[in-house]
Subunit: 119 residues, 2 copies
């Protein structure tokens, strides 16, 4: 039951597309990730995924249109929906998703982080 | 899959201790609540609860000590742990918890909101 400061946690890593776990509850993980550039198109078989932008701006491309998120905005991508996060400039993002969630979903590939680090 | 702006949602209600639902995913609800004053001591039988302060400051009293949260800080209160939120001045808080969660937990009482409103 310790206090977690989002800005302090964000100073602990600099790399992109490598989510870190900061909390666990009810079978879910709260993660922080820095995004820059284009991620891979992917979907999650069973996991809904929440993206909350803390700093910067993020576009989540989907087959039914783009979702543009700025700081203080979030959206939920339901399981099964293909999506691709794109950040022209670095964006800091809070993710909420089941602890079973793999960052690249069923697509896999070289951006996959099989076991995210706790920070 | 629509974008949700936290500040815009917070303009939609003014009352205290009455959480509103803004999103659902993986059996969880994301809620917003305005807090001012002292809530009731309570615990949740099965639900872990995350408190993220968006504006202002919040103290969560627990039997093992107080947790002081300011904007950008959060903590998780595990199920079964007695707690009481207290906000000297108005605080705006994002809650993440299972959709079965009642605000007053097993304590009940006149601050109970049985069916939170979606906004």
């Amino acid at each position: 039951m310790k206090k977690i400061n989002l800005r302090e946690k964000l100073t602990r890593f600099q790399d992109h597309w490598n989510p870190r776990i900061v909390a666990a509850l009810n079978g879910q993980h709260v993660k922080l990730v820095k995004m820059k550039g284009e991620f891979v198109w992917h979907a999650h078989r069973e996991e809904d995924e929440l993206f909350l932008v803390l700093d910067g701006a993020l576009t989540i491309e989907t087959p039914s249109g783009d979702i543009r998120l700025e700081a203080g905005e979030f959206c939920v991508i339901p399981h099964g929906v293909e999506h691709r996060p794109v950040a022209e400039n670095e964006a800091h993002v809070l993710l909420l998703e089941p602890d079973s969630t793999r960052n690249t979903g069923i697509a896999g590939g070289d951006k996959t982080v099989e076991t995210p680090e706790w920070i």
